[in-house]
């Protein structure tokens, strides 16, 4: 018990982490803390590599879409895969020349402002509160999402990009069915196909999506299509946490798989070789 903990009338303790709970309330936030930290560290490391993100015909989702590619780098995307061609010469030397840096802001901001992840990191990182009926981090005047965190209200804009990314990643998966003009598939194709599928499960269970598609209406009976879409979003929304973690894991795993194949550490089983 920290020194800040005080006992009040009612026998309640106050102060960070103060509680009379004896059940295992710490495992959830600890697992969240470790899981999210691991992913952030891995994605940052992988994103900064700028190499081994492509193992023809597989492209890592942390690098898709490739805006510019740096030729000559091992495991970099070929020129035809880059939207704007070769890496520009004017790029400041201080900023890492990695295609991931140009796109990760989109999925990153989507997850950062996601209502589920907000809950997860407000608890596990922000300790506001660390658990239910467990003392929150003391603040001189708690403002919630009305002040510094007011930007969370723009989550729907991150959603629009996230929807676009599902199509981009399905396109990458479609490209993974062909190597040097020859149709085929490999384990990597499956890995790349599962990725946008899980992301779609996550994205179309989004609270903002659920609101925009029908939740904002009071008279559902007058808009049967939107009512059905809202009901579908609700089914996914009830599993939003599950899809949040599955899709997060799979994005990381897909990068890892492509990276390992590109580095020659593992061999992709496929119909081409």
């Amino acid at each position: 018990m920290s020194e800040l903990v005080q006992i009040r009338v009612g026998g309640h303790q106050t102060g960070l982490g103060a509680t009379c709970r004896v059940d295992d309330w710490k495992t959830g936030p600890t697992a969240t803390f470790l899981g999210l930290s691991f992913f952030i560290v891995y994605a940052t490391w992988a994103g900064l590599q700028g190499a081994h993100y492509y193992a023809g015909p597989y492209l890592s989702p942390l690098y898709s879409p490739v805006v510019w590619t740096k030729l000559g780098v091992p495991g970099a995307a070929p020129l035809e895969h880059a939207l704007l061609g070769e890496w520009p010469a004017w790029w400041p030397a201080l900023i890492p020349a990695t295609p991931a840096a140009l796109i990760l802001i989109f999925p990153g901001s989507f997850r950062f402002t996601c209502y589920y992840y907000r809950k997860a990191y407000y608890r596990a990182f922000g300790m506001t509160p660390p658990g239910c009926a467990v003392g929150a981090l003391p603040q001189s005047q708690y403002k919630g999402e009305t002040a510094l965190l007011i930007f969370q209200n723009l989550h729907r804009y991150a959603l629009y990009f996230a929807i676009l990314f599902i199509f981009i990643l399905y396109y990458d998966a479609a490209l993974a069915f062909s190597k040097d003009g020859e149709f085929g598939f490999g384990v990597g194709t499956l890995v790349l196909l599962i990725n946008p599928t899980l992301l779609a499960g996550y994205t179309f269970g989004c609270h903002s999506w659920r609101h925009l598609i029908g939740g904002g209406l009071n008279l559902h009976s007058k808009s049967p299509l939107r009512h059905s879409l809202w009901k579908m979003a609700t089914v996914l929304n009830e599993r939003h946490m599950l899809f949040a973690w599955l899709s997060l894991f799979w994005v990381g795993f897909t990068d890892f798989y492509v990276r390992m194949v590109s580095m020659g550490v593992i061999t992709d089983l496929n119909t081409w070789s």
């Binding site: 026998g11 709970r21 919630g144 999402e145 989550h155 609270h207 904002g216």
Partner: protein, 246 residues
């Protein structure tokens, strides 16, 4: 029958302490039963509020081993036999005596919410609603006003922002009206300003403790926050409204 020890808070607003009582307990007993036995055998002046013993009146809210729960719905069998169960009053509201708190702040919040403003009746004098339009708000009507959600909400419990946020119970109360197919009142400004939707950081503790399993956060507060975004934060929607002159 076996014996079990309970650590119960005794005292009033001036102070107090935990006292331990050991009573006989049997299969199927709930915490409220044990408290009644303590009253009968050891402490006839132990104050506890209860009414229905069926999880429907919302009176017996207390904190059991630190968790906000209904005393009448918490089975002793859920706890290890030798474990001493700690019983406290709600933390968020002023203590009157022992396990009884003054929850009248909540009644005052309820009064701040404008009642249903129904649209005019149909020509035959009826109000008509479609099932799919009322399905969503039925969930909120299950509320038994136990205020366990209010007790656990850290905005009220730890940060004491009763001045800024009405709490989850009243977010779903206003949600029930704002999503009502007959309501004509524009409630968005009040939801944002007076009722303080932005203070909720959607950490879902209210949902976790609700004995009626109302999905307070996902089906109530978040949809209201999204309606507030439509009105106050979404630049495209705001621009479109301006263009349309609405």
């Amino acid at each position: 029958m076996s014996k079990r020890t309970f650590r119960i808070w005794r005292g009033d607003a001036e102070g107090g302490e935990f006292e331990e009582y050991t009573v006989e307990v049997g299969p199927g007993m709930v915490v409220l039963d044990a408290i009644h036995r303590v009253q009968a055998e050891h402490a006839s002046d132990l104050a506890v509020r209860w009414n229905c013993k069926a999880g429907k009146c919302g009176s017996c809210s207390m904190e059991i081993d630190g968790m906000p729960k209904l005393g009448c719905m918490t089975r002793l069998g859920d706890y290890p036999e030798s474990h001493t169960i700690t019983i406290q009053p709600l933390k968020t509201f002023p203590l009157i005596k022992d396990l009884v708190t003054d929850v009248s702040w909540n009644f005052a919040q309820n009064k701040r919410i404008k009642p249903l403003q129904p649209k005019p009746r149909d020509a035959d004098g009826e109000h008509r609603m479609q099932q799919e339009d009322v399905d969503r708000i039925q969930e909120f009507r299950k509320c038994i006003e136990c205020y366990l959600c209010q007790d656990t909400c850290h905005v009220l419990r730890d940060h004491d922002r009763k001045d800024a946020f009405v709490g989850p119970r009243f977010m779903i109360r206003v949600g029930q009206l704002a999503m009502h197919p007959l309501d004509t009142e524009d409630r968005i400004p009040a939801i944002k300003e007076e009722l303080g939707s932005g203070y909720c950081n959607i950490t879902r503790c209210c949902t976790e403790v609700c004995p009626e399993h109302i999905n307070i956060t996902d089906n109530g507060i978040i949809p209201l926050k999204e309606r507030v975004v439509d009105r106050y934060y979404d630049p495209i929607k705001m621009l479109l409204r301006k263009v349309r002159g609405a």
